[in-house]
């Protein structure tokens, strides 16, 4: 029935020692051993938490699934309208403008979701963190899973549009998941890095929300990069630009070979993610003290 089951995870004879005071880095082997163990344990839990969140969310909502795609569709419509009425000029695009903008918006949404997911997850789970001992990465991974699933679901909407305009992704379709992943990982990495301090100071979360709005405008979501000057410079500086442009290109039968900037961003994302994860693990005990009820 209960205790007599053999071979349960984390079975007896795990000796856990907690020393203090002092930096957790002072016992690096213990720190990293615990960290990796926690990461391994967090994967199945992340899946459960993700399913739980989905269930809970849709139980309370009527429109449910529609909310994933409606914002993107609405935004695309606005951009198109602005173009039609000559308020803005998106510039010449290799593929039909509506498709260009739609793909850009859907991809951007993926990045934005992954960006705010860690903060949202941690804020919602504050109670749980301070009352139950469990691998906290699972919260982050559940958030990432949520963003990923939503992104894929949105791109499904793009399929009929692709067909309508007769645009075929070609070989780029094979690389598209990589592109998607790079966008998500970039957003996720930034989100994770900001999450610990974001839990202490909610200003960071608010700042992020405001910044995201502005960030959209310096990303070539609804326009092409051309001309020179400050605008173009900012777009170049924006780390989201390469993944977005490259993935869109892959999805719409454009250039296959990724530019150097794209590779740089991918590498930097992974490094940032690793660093963010370590920072996160360091912070959890302190956050539990200060933030949990």
């Amino acid at each position: 029935m209960s205790a007599e089951q053999p071979g349960k995870a984390g079975a007896s004879e795990t000796v856990v020692s907690r020393f203090g005071p002092g930096s957790q880095f002072r016992h690096p082997s213990q720190f990293f051993a615990t960290a990796f163990r926690s990461l391994r344990a967090s994967l199945p839990l992340a899946r459960r938490l993700f399913v739980r969140d989905i269930r809970a969310r849709y139980r309370l909502s009527v429109l449910g699934f529609a909310w994933i795609v409606l914002p993107a569709i609405a935004q695309t419509a606005v951009w198109l309208f602005l173009n039609e009425s000559q308020v803005i000029n998106s510039g010449p695009t290799a593929i039909p403008l509506p498709l260009y903008i739609l793909l850009g918006t859907l991809l951007w949404q993926g990045f934005a979701d992954a960006l705010i997911a860690p903060g949202t997850q941690l804020t919602n789970a504050g109670q749980m963190l301070s009352k139950v001992s469990f691998p906290a990465e699972s919260l982050l991974l559940a958030g990432l899973a949520d963003a990923a699933v939503n992104t894929v679901a949105r791109l499904v909407i793009a399929v009929p549009v692709l067909i309508y305009y007769g645009v075929s992704p070609g070989w780029g379709l094979l690389l598209a998941p990589v592109g998607l992943a790079s966008l998500l990982v970039l957003g996720f990495a930034i989100g994770v890095a900001l999450a610990p301090f974001g839990m202490l100071y909610h200003d960071i979360g608010r700042l992020l929300t405001v910044a995201t709005g502005f960030w959209l405008l310096v990303t070539p979501v609804a326009y092409t990069v051309s001309g020179s000057g400050l605008g173009r410079f900012l777009v170049y500086l924006n780390p989201v630009s390469p993944p977005l442009l490259t993935t869109r290109s892959w999805l719409s039968g454009g250039a296959i070979v990724p530019g150097p900037l794209m590779l740089m961003v991918m590498a930097a994302s992974i490094v940032l993610l690793a660093a963010g994860w370590i920072l996160f693990r360091l912070s959890i005990p302190h956050l539990v003290d200060r933030v949990g009820t």
Partner: protein
């Protein structure tokens, strides 16, 4: 199983400072910095110099006033937060029941939450199904399990929470004050589960305000106060010390008695009296059942006065007079003169339970019976505890005094005996014996009363 050495933990209550310290703590970790011994602004030591060892099969209770650091201690033990001093070593898996609502999503049903909670505690996927069934059975929630947890009462949440914790294969159980929320039958179930757990070699650290539960489950107990261990030992000893401290903490505010006339003349008292000393036999502090020896001193103002006297035993807040100690004859048998007169009297088998009391002597005019003088400074006395079950139970219940009874053993009461109980007739079973309360069947009756007589009875039977 559990070893704690010199544990310390700092906390901050101020929100803004808490966040600032949190941020700086994170940065300090990055800088490989050692810990900080002093407290920063707004910080206080929630735990200090805690040493604790729990062996397999042992149960330790933790009691103390609110805010003493009990929950903080459990959180450090469970690993939710790191110590600021000292170390914690835990061998084997541990599960904690710290909060009712913790890993539960209120929108989902109990059943769904069980699977999530099991995953949170690291149960492998293939075992979750069996575990969920076991939880359903243990919690006895039945159909309620399919309702959203939002609709659960605190007791139902606790049932589910405990059922889950009970099914986890944990060697060390850390339980924080939540068991008291369940109803009686479930509390019993929890307690018997805990006993089985202890029997299998598991350990328990229980934080509770339910002193009865602590006493029943935990042979060993520590008392926390302001983050430090102030008492340690058997449950009885710890509880007794905790209750003593609680009572001593009462504010002693002298109050003027309403409508009290200190003198018959309305001006200076005609006589003065004070309680000088009070002690048990052999000069020890008195205990329940001991003889109490009280010395008072009284003197008049010069005019001859025949005075009666009595001594009031008051609670520390002076609101309640627990007993009035008086000689058999209260009419004027003290001849007071200007010279102080000392009186020593004995209260046989004092019925007071452990605690603090105030003794105040009053003088009465022998002729009129009016009060002519009283203590200005009542004497505080401490009735000691024997730290045994009877005293502890009494302290826990807040009982102030005991009363001797006589009884007799036997079968169902006769009609006469029942009538006597209602007060119609006094039934004397056998000549020469004091009236028996009810039961008598010829097996014999005994005069038993209180502690001493019980011991005699047992000794009699043993012979």
């Amino acid at each position: 199983m559990l070893e704690v050495r010199g544990l310390g933990k700092k906390l901050t209550r101020d929100l803004a400072l808490a966040r600032r310290h949190g941020a700086s703590d994170i940065l300090r970790d990055l800088r490989f910095a050692p810990g900080v011994e002093e407290t920063r602004s707004g910080e206080f030591w929630a735990l200090r110099d805690i040493d604790l060892e729990v062996a397999p099969g042992e149960a330790v209770g933790v009691i103390g006033h609110n805010g003493a650091g009990k929950s903080t201690l459990l959180r450090v033990l469970h690993g939710l937060t790191r110590p600021d001093a000292g170390s914690v070593t835990v061998r084997g898996r541990h599960a904690a029941l710290l909060d009712l609502g913790a890993p539960f999503d209120k929108v989902l049903s109990g059943r769904e939450n069980v699977t999530v909670a099991a995953a949170v505690h690291g149960v492998p996927r293939r075992q979750i199904g069996t575990l969920a069934e076991a939880v359903a059975e243990f919690s006895e929630l039945g159909d309620v399990l399919d309702a959203p947890m939002r609709t659960y009462s605190a007791g139902m949440q606790m049932r589910l929470g405990f059922a889950i914790a009970a099914q986890l294969d944990a060697k060390l159980l850390l339980v924080d004050e939540v068991i008291t929320v369940g109803d009686i039958s479930f509390q019993r179930k929890c307690m018997s589960h805990i006993r089985r757990h202890l029997g299998r070699g598991g350990s328990l650290v229980l934080v509770s305000h339910d002193l009865w539960m602590v006493q029943t489950l935990c042979p060993r107990c520590i008392v926390l106060s302001e983050g430090r261990i102030v008492a340690e030992g058997t449950a009885n000893h710890a509880i007794s010390s905790y209750m003593g401290a609680t009572r001593r903490g009462q504010v002693f505010v002298p109050r003027a008695r309403q409508g009290f006339t200190a003198t018959s003349a309305g001006s200076a008292p005609a006589a003065r009296a004070e309680v000088l000393a009070c002690r048990g036999p052999d000069g020890r502090p008195p205990r329940n059942g001991d003889d109490l020896i009280i010395e008072i001193e009284a003197h008049g103002d010069g005019s001859a006065l025949s005075a009666g006297w009595y001594v009031d035993v008051l609670t520390p807040d002076r609101q309640i007079c627990v007993a009035r100690l008086q000689p058999p004859d209260t009419t004027g048998h003290l001849e007071l003169s200007a010279e102080p007169t000392a009186i020593a009297f004995t209260v046989p088998k004092v019925p007071l339970f452990p605690g603090t009391f105030f003794l105040s002597v009053h003088l009465l005019d022998g002729a009129t019976g009016e009060e002519v003088g009283a203590s200005e400074a009542p004497l505080a006395i401490e009735v000691e505890s024997r730290a045994d079950r009877m005293d502890t139970l009494a302290q826990f219940a807040g009982a102030l005094s005991s009363v001797e009874t006589s009884y007799s053993l036997g079968g169902p009461p006769t009609e006469a005996a029942v009538r006597s109980k209602i007060g119609e007739t006094a039934v004397a079973d056998q000549p020469g014996r004091p009236p028996a309360a009810t039961l008598s069947d010829g097996l014999g009756s005994g005069t038993g009363s209180g502690r001493r007589a019980m011991a005699d009875e047992v000794a009699d039977r043993g012979r």
